[in-house]
């Protein structure tokens, strides 16, 4: 019996149609748009001016606080403009627009392909490096990685968990990283283990990726302390708390961080970025992005520079099919529909999903029949039907005591609801309102 998390969960069809496609390097765009807020926390601050000449990998915006991240130029060229443009959410956000000229990298970056296994930096130096290189959680949450590597005083980490679950349907970028960058990944795991001063790391992989499990098991045969843990396929296993439960059977208490149970979780994409940052001095300026969808003629996994417009990735994957109904940034479960295709790839973009008309629309909403399906699938043990009503009627005190803030917004409730109720829509609204009250209280 394979391990999985203990509460709730659903089984959407996995539809990993781009799983067999190797990572392709996407040609450089003519112009990149680099948002200053690509991570959770304070936006980065820039001192660039229009017309400044910059090199690939140069810092273009400095971290705006402890929970924030540096941003590096993904290309070389000239600053065209500092502007505000509409991002994926439809709101205008500050960006740096750079006109690409050639591809001249900063001299400090080691661009060779050779694997560097020896870790010369100390724990503190690694954490500092990870911070400087602007590395954030690349699974989608974009939480600055150096913050996770610095446990608060009094807390001790005893196990590092690497998230290779990729439980979202369609997405395959982490899968390809595990297959093609296995060696680098293992060194990355060792770097993170050294930074956290732990001697145990577990890589959790769902068993719909047997080739990745096989490959990494072979690579880690002679490694001390690194285990590969195959997991039963179940959404949302890639959620941090669900993964900790699945892999080591510990439950993170409500409102607490994983460090409370001695665990730190990093995504495989982040781990690879940590390897490149620490061993090759390469900042986070590119990432693997899956471009996929039932109608896409050439589903692919691209290595794309941050700031590349989504439209160019779709073009490279064979263009937008005629009956496109929706383009989603991220996976079908937690991703967000894009309001325009000129938005750039950011540090947290794991995939672009193009859905045809027939799959893109919601079904008519009907009355709640109190079947309780949403309660049984909620991986956090919440009561979504109740939280929805509380959020809708602004019964925020009750919503708070019913633990609305524990919701991880996985969407299992909305997915499973036979009456097509917009459960997550309202819960997200309620979370925002309750969050505001909690912040004002402090």
């Amino acid at each position: 019996m394979l391990k999985t998390f203990s509460l709730g969960g659903i089984h959407p069809a996995d539809r990993k149609i781009s799983a067999g496609k190797s990572i392709e390097v996407l040609p450089l765009p003519k112009r990149v748009v680099v948002p200053l807020a690509q991570h959770i926390g304070a936006p980065a601050k820039t001192e660039l001016k229009k017309g400044d000449q910059i090199k690939t990998g140069q810092v273009i915006a400095k971290s705006g606080g402890f929970v924030s991240a540096n941003i590096h130029s993904p290309v070389s060229g000239k600053v065209f403009k500092l502007d505000e443009v509409v991002d994926a959410s439809g709101y205008r956000k500050p960006v740096i627009i750079i006109d690409v000229e050639g591809d001249e990298w900063d001299e400090s970056i080691d661009r060779s392909e050779t694997l560097k296994t020896e870790i010369s930096l100390s724990s503190e130096e690694i954490i500092k490096k990870v911070g400087e290189m602007g590395i954030v959680g690349m699974g989608g949450a974009t939480f600055p990685a150096h913050v996770k590597l610095s446990p608060p005083p009094g807390k001790k980490c005893d196990v590092l968990i690497i998230n290779g679950v990729e439980c979202e349907p369609f997405l395959t970028s982490d899968h390809r990283v595990m297959l093609e960058k296995g060696d680098e990944l293992i060194v990355g795991v060792k770097i993170l283990m050294k930074a956290l001063k732990v001697d145990r790391a577990v890589i959790g992989i769902e068993n719909n990726k047997p080739d990745a499990i096989q490959h990494l098991t072979t690579l880690t045969e002679n490694e001390q302390g690194i285990e590969i843990q195959p997991l039963k396929v179940q959404y949302p296993q890639g959620g941090e708390k669900q993964l900790i439960d699945a892999v080591i059977g510990r439950q993170v208490p409500s409102g607490k961080l994983p460090i409370e149970v001695g665990a730190v979780v990093h995504n495989v994409g982040t781990t690879l970025a940590v390897y490149e940052a620490v061993q090759k001095n390469k900042p986070l300026i590119e990432r693997v992005v899956t471009v996929t969808g039932p109608g896409v003629s050439k589903p692919s996994n691209f290595l794309a520079r941050i700031g590349t417009p989504v439209s160019q990735l779709i073009e490279a994957a064979g263009g937008l099919p005629d009956n496109t109904g929706k383009v989603i940034g991220g996976g079908p479960m937690m991703g967000k529909a894009l309001s325009n295709l000129e938005v750039p790839i950011t540090k947290g973009s794991s995939g672009i999903l193009v859905l045809p008309h027939e799959e893109a629309h919601r079904k008519p909403v009907e009355n709640c029949i109190r079947c309780g399906k949403c309660v049984s699938v909620c991986p956090m043990g919440l009561e979504p039907y109740l939280l929805m009503i509380e959020a809708e009627k602004e019964l925020l005190d009750r919503a708070e005591s019913d633990n609305i803030m524990d919701c991880i917004e996985c969407g299992s409730c909305s997915f499973t609801c036979p009456a097509n109720r917009p459960l997550l829509d309202y819960i997200r609204l309620g979370k925002g309102n309750v969050g505001k009250i909690i912040r004002n209280r402090n």
Partner: protein, 291 residues
């Protein structure tokens, strides 16, 4: 026979004893309540809308009785008549308050503001606003999902299917402010109703730079400042690329209306200006429904 008698006497005795205890207790723990609170409450419209800032008419009545000076307190539903009655009951000086009315400061109809994407989430402006910037290029404007109409207890609003914008029925609006609170984009404002219900306001809340705002919506305020320059009473301020008319300073001279290059300034309930042809007027200027 004697059992019946004993029983009756015992019960009667107990009853009398309880009556005495209850009487003493009611004297000892008596709470004095100002009888005027009830009187004032009866005079109030009992709409319990919260427009006065208190949770219901009873709480407002208590506040009125308690306050030494009631000139700051006002019941928007009852207006001057009710406040005069209340002032009479309490023997206090009533305040001067001009009647207010809600106005929708967005004219981004489907025609003026093209839809760039399609929203099909929950029918609620609050949900949509928490999610993204809306169906059009203007992330400040009306979402058209009707949270304000839902909030209105006085049947004073409806959604115009054609324009996709809410319309305020002036005669029903009591300026309770429920729609103002319900709008996540702060588009609806309570403004002075004005003499003969005439008023002028900027029907836009877009704070983007002129070119951006204009691209998203034909009738957006572009913050050009022409209206502020032409205003003889300094009633118009430009802040964050947006003009705002202070209704306390505005004298309704209407000089700002024709100079606006995007027709973002609306005049309501005015007769058509004599020197100009009638087409200069805003189409929404019917006397009973105006926004």
């Amino acid at each position: 026979m004697s059992i019946v008698l004993i029983t009756i006497l015992t019960l009667a005795g107990l009853g009398a004893l309880a009556a005495v205890i209850l009487y003493l207790a009611s004297q000892k723990f008596k709470v004095f309540e100002d009888p005027r609170i009830n009187q004032v409450e009866e005079a109030l419209p009992a709409a319990n809308c919260g427009g006065c800032g208190f949770p219901g008419c009873r709480a407002f009545a208590e506040a009125l009785v308690k306050a030494d000076d009631i000139s700051d307190l006002n019941c928007p539903v009852g207006g001057a008549d009710v406040m005069a009655t209340v002032a009479n009951i309490l023997g206090k000086e009533m305040g001067k308050s001009d009647p207010l009315v809600a106005v929708v400061r967005c004219n981004g109809t489907c025609e003026h503001r093209p839809r760039l994407n399609e929203y099909e989430g929950a029918t609620s402006c609050a949900v949509a606003a928490a999610l993204y910037g809306g169906e059009t290029g203007c992330s400040y404007g009306c979402y058209g999902l009707g949270d304000c109409v839902e909030a209105c207890d006085f049947n004073a609003m409806y959604m115009d299917e054609k324009t996709g914008l809410p319309v305020i029925i002036e005669d029903n609006c009591v300026a309770c402010g429920a729609c103002v609170d319900a709008c996540p984009k702060e588009i609806i404002e309570l403004r002075k109703k004005g003499p003969k219900s005439r008023r002028i306001f900027v029907s836009c809340v877009n704070q983007d730079k002129g070119a951006v705002a204009k691209k998203a919506c034909d009738v957006a305020c572009i913050g050009c400042g022409k209206c502020a320059k032409v205003c003889p009473f300094d009633a118009i301020t430009i802040e964050n690329n947006l003009a705002y008319i202070d209704y306390d300073k505005c004298r309704l001279c209407r000089k700002c209306v024709p100079v606006c290059p995007t027709n973002a300034i609306h005049e309501i309930n005015f007769p058509p200006p004599k020197p100009k042809p009638a087409k200069e007027q805003e189409p929404a200027n019917t006397p009973e429904s105006s926004n």
